[in-house]
């Protein structure tokens, strides 16, 4: 069950990555990046179940926080038109 779910989530991640490639505007690419990082967190949690390792959840938490900071500051950078 968990293996099948992991494969489906990988397929969903690739479909979201296509939105990053074809997105008409810059903000479409940003929302694609946000959704892709949340699906990556789900894949890491599934890997933590499969391999029965606790430290993979710490990696998932760090991934969530770094994705938050990077997306927030790219959004602010674009809104202020390049002024930091």
């Amino acid at each position: 069950m968990i293996n099948i779910v992991t494969h489906i989530l990988v397929a969903a991640t690739l479909m979201t990555a296509v939105r990053i490639l074809i997105g008409p505007t810059l903000w479409d690419r940003l929302i694609g990046f946000n959704l892709m990082s949340s699906k990556m967190i789900m894949i890491i949690v599934m890997c933590a179940i499969i391999f029965e390792k606790n430290f993979l959840l710490d990696i998932a938490l760090t991934y969530a926080l770094i994705g938050f900071v990077s997306t927030l500051f790219i959004a602010r950078f674009v809104r202020d038109k390049g002024k930091i």
């Binding site: 069950m1 968990i2 779910v5 489906i8 989530l9 969903a12 479909m15 979201t16 939105r19 505007t25 903000w27 479409d28 940003l30 929302i31 694609g32 946000n34 959704l35 949340s38 699906k39 967190i41 789900m42 949690v45 933590a48 179940i49 606790n54 959840l57 710490d58 998932a60 938490l61 969530a64 926080l65 938050f68 997306t71 927030l72 959004a75 602010r76 674009v78 809104r79 038109k81």
Partner: protein, 106 residues
């Protein structure tokens, strides 16, 4: 054993929600519909999958860490969505109908 079965069913419901979110990302034509549907359904799917993981693994340090992950994502996902939508609005992105209305008003 029955706990694993219930957890697997909840994870399946969450994966269906995630797939609906990916479908909605391609279904709609304009940006604001896409950001609404994509982020909301994806947050629902994330929380449901992690609740399934908690039910599946019982009470342990593992499920406590997953609970912390749910708490973090419930805070930061709406904040990111608001930041992107606010950036699009203040950065000058408008829908086609609003542009026509603004032009007819002025």
């Amino acid at each position: 054993m029955i706990r694993e079965l219930i957890g697997n069913i909840i994870i399946g419901i969450g994966v269906v929600a995630v797939l609906l979110g990916v479908f909605g990302l391609y279904r709609f034509r304009d940006f604001y519909s896409r950001i609404l549907i994509g982020s909301m359904i994806d947050t629902v799917g994330f929380i449901t999958v992690c609740l399934g993981v908690i039910v599946r693994s019982g009470i342990s340090w593992f499920s406590l860490k997953v609970l912390l992950l749910i708490a973090v994502v419930m805070i930061i996902n709406p904040v990111i969505t608001h930041a992107i939508a606010s950036s699009a609005y203040h950065g000058g992105y408008r829908l086609q109908d609003e542009e026509d209305k603004d032009a007819s008003d002025s």
